[in-house]
């Protein structure tokens, strides 16, 4: 089997694992009982207040900011940069490319470096700070290293050894149209794609599930109205 076929099949498999895996986790989260009202105060009293609070959590990591400035700095830097980088990558799966992706493009280019800096800071923390090193498991380190390796291989393609991105886009679109196109055999590209595939495979069983998990945090997503509304959830509902 040729490289292109192997990677095409891998991409389908990885997508299935990612989508089904994360969906399954979300289903589990949604069924997990939340027996008590435990929003951390000061908490919003209305649903729209909760939406606003969640929006701030998602966009600026508010509670992290309040608890630790350094983790916030590196973490937020990494996530925002990642968002930009992902938007930049949309050009490989849209034709014609959405107009706003063209605008994001130049920023996404430098966001790669910011992403690496953020990850580097987070990893440094796990090495340098005694208490954090003690509680860090191998998987904590490995996830950071995997993300850093993805960033480095991506940046290397941009700045060191170019790859034929027109052919690459053909390959990616080919996957979507079920009309497979050849994948350029550039070693850096293969490395980059393999690492991303790995990430997709392990995402549903990794700590990266904090992404959907955030929305299910009872301390964040509950309204502070235990006296006004009777709280009924989970096992206590029966």
């Amino acid at each position: 089997m040729s490289l292109s076929v192997i990677y095409a099949l891998l991409f389908y498999a990885a997508t299935l694992v990612l989508v089904i895996g994360v969906a399954r986790k979300i289903a589990i989260y949604s069924k997990t009982p939340q027996p008590l009202k435990i929003p951390t105060t000061p908490a919003p009293l209305t649903t729209s207040g909760v939406v606003w609070r969640m929006a701030k959590e998602v966009a600026v990591f508010q509670s992290l900011f309040k608890s630790n400035k350094w983790i916030w700095l590196f973490g937020w830097l990494f996530h925002v940069a990642l968002a930009l980088v992902l938007m930049r990558h949309l050009r490989y799966v849209t034709e014609p490319v959405w107009f706003w992706v063209n605008w994001v493009q130049p920023f996404g280019k430098y966001a790669g470096f910011a992403m690496l800096a953020g990850l580097g800071g987070l990893w440094l923390r796990r090495i340098v700070v005694d208490r954090v090193r003690y509680i860090s498991s191998p998987s904590d380190h490995l996830m950071l290293l995997l993300l850093m390796a993805i960033a480095v291989s991506g940046l290397a393609m941009k700045y060191v050894d170019h790859t034929d991105i027109v052919a690459l886009k053909g390959f990616m679109l080919g996957l979507m149209y079920f009309d497979w196109q050849p994948l350029p055999g550039n070693p850096l590209l293969i490395t980059h794609l393999s690492l991303v595939l790995l990430l997709m495979f392990i995402f549903p069983i990794s700590k990266l599930l904090h992404a959907p998990g955030l929305f299910f945090s009872p301390t964040r997503n509950q309204t502070d109205n235990p006296r006004e509304v009777r709280h009924v959830a989970g096992w206590s509902a029966k």
Partner: protein
């Protein structure tokens, strides 16, 4: 489980709207004049910017005016004619550079200053002196 049912419906819907019948959109790269580009095609596809960049600095700062990697020669050789028989500018999606650069959403700065069309030669190259 209503959640799972909804997700399955969405999955089916996504599958339905995916245009399986259409072929993958790939750019049709116009052929240049002559038999062969100045470098191997695969090399040009990945590294043309490096060649042009290197030549640009050599020409600009050191006065080296060899033609092999000169942008002017790229434009001459790869000009694409429009409906009116005249070479099209980079604004046109048919322009040699535009075809791929639009596809890959990579902006080109060259043509803010450089002409993207070959010079119209009236009496050859001898209007000097």
């Amino acid at each position: 489980m209503p959640g799972v049912r909804i997700m399955m419906r969405v999955a089916v819907l996504l599958f339905l709207v995916t245009p399986v019948w259409a072929g993958t959109p790939v750019p049709e790269i116009p052929k240049g004049k002559g038999q062969q580009c100045v470098e191997d095609t695969a090399m040009m596809r990945t590294n043309h910017m490096e060649f042009i960049l290197h030549q640009r600095d050599d020409t600009m700062h050191r006065g080296i005016r060899t033609k092999k990697h000169s942008l002017k020669e790229c434009i001459e050789c790869h000009a694409v004619k429009g409906d009116d028989g005249m070479p099209v500018s980079v604004e046109s999606p048919k322009h040699f550079c535009s075809v791929c650069h639009r596809y890959a959403a990579v902006s080109i700065d060259c043509f803010q200053c450089h002409n993207s069309k070959p010079e119209i030669k009236l009496t050859g190259d001898r209007n000097g002196q």
